[in-house]
Subunit: 195 residues, 2 copies
């Protein structure tokens, strides 16, 4: 995959985890709209964390502080978290152009550690993975995600595993990606009490 | 308060909510150390969100994407959130040099709305406010914070209110600011179940 300036983006994957260009922007936009919908209906309060940035040069201006030089840093957690019916929700969302598997290079080692911490400490944690060329979006719980990576040496999770263990998120009109509907099904109403 | 370049920082408070210079850095560092301690002991998983930044100019380099121009944006949520014993934790931390009151200009309108959402939806939410010249740090629950601002027209919360309704956080060696000790006292063990 070539980007402006002829730089091979894939080679820089370790340094630059964000999906620059168009990669991932659709899913991100749809999730932001979905979260905005949840927020407006008082259903859940889930936000995308800003991409961490290392600032190396600034300038004081009349209108504010201007950043003159900065670089993207690796996130140490997942991108999304928040509150749903008194519970802690935490997830990462990724798109892949592969038709057969989800490359694990998409998830940083710090993020995997974070997912494990949340999973092991009663947080609701999952991945949302979109196979863009198939137009299929899956929710995979942290439990099933960790179970796969702990028991397989492969560098990607096959689509078949998503079909078997994941939960397909069907496109809706509003909200676009109703992932909390899946969470309700997985955990059941009792888990959330009478909230 | 004058900053390099002679710009009056206070006038720009609305545009630049971050505590640049030294303001707030001690509390922030102590909280980061505290959260690191909680994390290392598997007690809680609480992170500071990066300050949101609006990027206006970038350049592709061999080593990654370099940001050539960017500005700080206003946060729409509080700075810290995470997971503690299965519960959602959310807070904002601020320092003030005032000896008598905490100026509400320190908390943005979007943040107040967020605090209200979390408070009303069973999240554990609070402020940590340090009066630097008194060397006193208080935890004030979102309930008591909202109660004050909903019933008072003043532009600051007096120290006496923190003394009456807040919970002083005593300096410890490790962790430095043990705010979860206060949360345990406020909510009681039963609230957290047997987690």
């Amino acid at each position: 995959m070539k980007y402006p300036g002829g730089i091979n983006f894939d080679k820089r994957k370790e340094e630059i985890p964000i999906n620059y260009g168009n990669r991932g922007m659709n899913l991100e936009k749809e999730l932001n709209d979905t979260n905005q919908y949840y927020l407006s209906k008082n259903i859940a309060f889930i936000y995308k964390k800003p991409t961490p940035i290392k600032i190396t040069k600034t300038e004081y201006k009349q209108t504010g502080i201007k950043i003159l030089e900065a670089f993207f840093a690796s996130p140490s957690t997942t991108d999304y978290n928040g509150l749903y019916k008194g519970k802690y929700i935490d997830f990462e969302a990724k798109e892949t152009t592969s038709k057969t598997s989800f490359p694990l290079a998409n998830i940083h080692i710090h993020q995997i550690k974070h997912i494990r911490n949340i999973n092991d400490n009663d947080g609701i944690c999952f991945l949302i993975v979109r196979f863009t060329k198939l137009n299929e979006t899956y929710l995979l719980t942290s439990f099933d995600f960790l179970n796969y990576i702990d028991n397989n040496k492969s560098k990607s999770i096959p689509l078949s595993y998503f079909k078997e263990k994941g939960h397909i998120i069907k496109d809706k009109y509003v909200p676009k990606i109703d992932y909390l509907e899946i969470i309700n099904k997985i955990y059941g109403g009792a888990y959330f009490g009478n909230n």
